[in-house]
């Protein structure tokens, strides 16, 4: 008996002509850990909702095909029974809390099931203890951190004793540590308690290896359904971007064996490079010095460290933006920033990393002129910021600020009106900037569409366009990569890099070390309101245990200074070719399975 059996499932949301799910045929066995990947809008969430019995009952729309749960057609199963068997954790922890207190939130589902008080008390106590939430029992849900909120959402579902746990991008709003914590918990539930887990995720480097099976969706259809190792191997042929960086690297290098974790990758790399005894590979990222090409260097003994590329000077001009001895304390007495100083030059792409509550968002708000520093100053092109909305005396709008929630920007009937609204407020005429931005951000076809009808990724681009119409010198972005798929993240990174090339300064706050490694020119790490580290991305990320991207972790000790996918390919490709030649010439074998 299969746990789930989906037959020819097709589903259209109300008033939509394109199906969200099409011809889905799928079997899920008891105790499986299934990972569902795919671009935004590929139907991942719709599939999750269908498996949780929310489609079409909650949303309406047209539904075809059958879903069987333990051989019974799902739509015929009593809703209360189904809720006992299948639990669902949603993307945003904020939007799934019902009660004000932690304990009441956990009890909410149990009350809905009509359980007797003694049973409810037992289950609540058990789940609080299991998830280590005991000390938060009396706490208000509003006072919890993002990670705690998501854990509470999981606790509220687990208390209902489901057999299946469906998680729709549960870590997209969490910082890396909380996300790791949450995913490990899922693995524990799967392995120790036999729960079937269906996990939908964008950032696969964290969970690819946890899955028994990976399902890849494209335009509402399943295009791949295999164990992770097989998906990784086939990805090289099919050019699938939804792979953790390690797997993507080996897959793109045409290796027959494709490791999926850093540990496996390092082992394999050691095996591949064993054909080069006593030799070390040095990689310089400074494109001016090497023309972007890796150089191999004979070196005895110690491994060479990357030479940190120095920042270009600013030709004696003042920096585009300068933060000097900045302190910030909230009226309640909570100190958030302590003596923060740094500058941003035109053409720079600065990424600010740091744990939740480190003061990153506050720093950005001060730079945007939305908060007044307690002490210290912010300067733009040598002039102090005096206005209340990112304006300097006598200037238009030198700063664009994209807050965490793009929805806060959208309240007009069309996308075009959103852009014109900002222009009007600043008394600027449309000199073609609206067309230019809509085209560059690939939202031209939505010009007359209501922005609230767009997907989250499209909304992000509309919000960004709405602040860029003033042609700002400095672009500040607060976690724009949160919950965004790989392709869109790439497009956003490339767009911002192009903006920097055109002369803007970009400052972006993120938790995404992979993104930082790929696109930034400089990194600032903030911890407890202070700058913990600042410098070239190679200097900072390479030596960081926590923020080092997967490729960096993979190459550490083998090819120092390598952080990004392209750098790794540039370094490894000639080596593997040389190894191949040596092997065919009778030299000791270097690589391959």
């Amino acid at each position: 008996m299969h746990l789930f059996k989906v037959e020819n499932l097709i589903y259209f949301y109300p008033d939509r002509e394109k199906p969200a799910l099409a011809e889905i045929n799928l079997v899920i066995e008891e105790g499986e850990f299934l990972l569902v990947a795919g671009e935004s809008g590929s139907g991942k969430s719709s599939l999750a909702r269908a498996l949780a019995g929310l489609l079409p009952d909650f949303y309406g729309g047209r539904f075809g095909g059958k879903i069987y749960f333990r051989d019974r057609e799902m739509r015929k199963i009593d809703r209360r029974r189904l809720a006992r068997e299948v639990g669902m954790v949603f993307q945003d922890p904020e939007k799934q809390m019902v009660m004000t207190g932690v304990e009441a939130e956990i009890a909410f589902g149990l009350e809905n099931l009509g359980l007797p008080p003694a049973e409810m008390f037992r289950r609540t106590a058990e789940v609080l203890s299991f998830l280590d939430l005991g000390k938060l029992r009396e706490e208000f849900t509003a006072n919890l951190s993002g990670g705690e909120k998501q854990k509470l959402a999981l606790a509220a579902v687990l208390a209902m004793h489901p057999q299946v746990l469906i998680c729709d991008e549960p870590t997209s709003q969490l910082d890396p540590a909380a996300a790791e914590d949450f995913l490990n918990l899922l693995k524990r539930l799967n392995e120790e308690m036999g729960l079937t887990v269906v996990l939908i995720e964008q950032r696969l480097e964290r969970c690819f290896h946890l899955a028994d099976r990976v399902l890849l969706l494209e335009s509402g259809r399943i295009v791949l359904d295999s164990p992770p190792e097989q998906v990784a191997r086939r990805a090289g042929i099919k050019d699938i971007p939804f792979l953790p960086p390690v797997a993507r690297l080996f897959s793109s290098l045409g290796q027959t064996y494709v490791p999926v974790t850093v540990k496996e990758g390092r082992k394999y790399l050691q095996h591949l490079l064993s054909g080069f005894p006593g030799e070390n590979v040095r990689f310089l990222s400074d494109q001016n010095k090497t023309g972007g090409k890796p150089i191999r260097e004979k070196k005895q003994g110690k491994k060479t460290l990357l030479e940190a590329s120095s920042f270009a000077g600013n030709g004696g001009k003042p920096p585009l933006a300068e933060v000097k001895n900045l302190w910030f304390t909230y009226p309640g007495g909570k100190k958030v920033l302590e003596n923060v100083s740094f500058s941003v030059n035109a053409g720079e792409f600065v990424v600010i990393l740091g744990e939740n509550g480190a003061g990153k968002s506050t720093l950005l708000k001060i730079m945007a002129g939305l908060l007044k520093p307690s002490r210290g100053n912010v300067f733009y092109a040598g002039r102090e910021l005096t206005g209340s909305n990112g304006r300097c005396e006598g200037r238009g709008a030198p700063v664009a600020y994209l807050a965490q929630n793009p929805n806060d920007y959208l309240f007009h009937d069309t996308v075009e009106e959103e852009l014109l609204f900002t222009l009007k407020n600043f008394g600027l005429a449309d000199d073609g900037i609206v067309d230019e931005l809509l085209t560059k951000l690939h939202i031209e076809r939505y010009r007359r569409t209501n922005p609230r009808d767009l997907s989250s990724g499209e909304r992000l681009r509309v919000a960004l366009a709405s602040v860029l119409v003033t042609r700002p010198g400095l672009i500040l972005l607060d976690e724009p990569t949160r919950g965004v798929d790989t392709r869109l993240k790439g497009e956003l990174g490339a767009f911002l890099r192009a903006q920097a090339k055109e002369g803007a300064g970009v400052v972006l706050v993120t938790h995404d070390a992979e993104f930082a490694a790929e696109y930034s020119s400089r990194i600032i790490v903030i911890s407890a309101g202070r700058i913990a580290a600042a410098g070239n991305k190679h200097e900072i990320l390479e030596n960081s245990l926590f923020y080092c991207p997967q490729i960096g972790k993979l190459c550490r000790g083998f090819g120092n200074g390598i952080l990004t996918f392209d750098e790794a390919v540039q370094w490894l490709e000639p080596l593997l070719r040389a190894g191949q030649t040596a092997r065919t010439g009778g030299a000791p074998a270097g690589a391959s399975e």
């Binding site: 009660m99 009441a104 849900t141 929805n407």
Partner: protein, 308 residues
Amino acid sequence: MRKFFYAEKGLFLQSLHPLAALAFLGTMLVLALAFSHPLYLAGIFLVAGVTVWTAEGLETWESYLKIGLVMMTLIVLINALMVHEGRTILWRGPLIPVFGRITISLEAIYYGLAMGVRLLNVISIFCLFNLIVHPDKIINLFSRFAGKSTLVIALAARMFPVMAQRYENIRAVQQIRGVDFSRGTLKEKVQKSSLLINSLILSSLEDSLEIAESMQARAFGSGPRSRYRRHRWQPRDTLCLAGSAVALGAGLAGLFHGFGAYTFYPQMGCLVDGPGTVAVLLIVLSGLLAPAILNWGWHRCTFLRLKI
């Protein structure tokens, strides 16, 4: 903003059963509205202050009192200008059509002050409610009688801080997009605010759909609900309830016999017109002080801590 909402501090007063806490606050409210005698009103204010202090909420109380004092000043001013029944005239102003001659009497000021204290009492009781009663406990208490209505209140209580935060965020975003909320005519300011509210409502409606979905996924509306009870009735609750009952009984009985009421017009009566006034006042205050006294004992007496 956060100080206006309940925060769990592990206090004795926060451990009271919601029914006992509500009985205490309800008694205070009824008496504050029923008494007009300045001494009685001042006594209730004193009890409220002591209880707020034991609930470690002086800072919060201060914020509430600031608003209260502004309103109190307005009450005193308006009452003094509008009421002409007092005999002790302090100032005789010009003749104004419709209103007649403006006079300010000592009695009118005195009455305004007493009503101001009554307002401060009501505000302090509300402050105490926020300090010592967990909203979930109240919701839990009432869900027995009106399940769906209390759930709506629970959701509203949860959403209030979220909405306040979102309002701030949207305001910041509009500022960065060039909206200057401090400039323009009144009409323009209203227009700017309506855009802000529009954005807030749109986002809230979208969020509400997601919350509803989460509720549906957790079997809400799938049949009759049961009720999760966690709060047990303890001796401390009985003692607090007894204190409130004594205060309410003595207060109402006193009012029936003319204690607790006071004559302001045309001439002020005597503040203490006999031992009865003082006796009833003392009984009422002792009853209302029960939670604060128990809190004191709970901290200092091991026996009490173990037994109540």
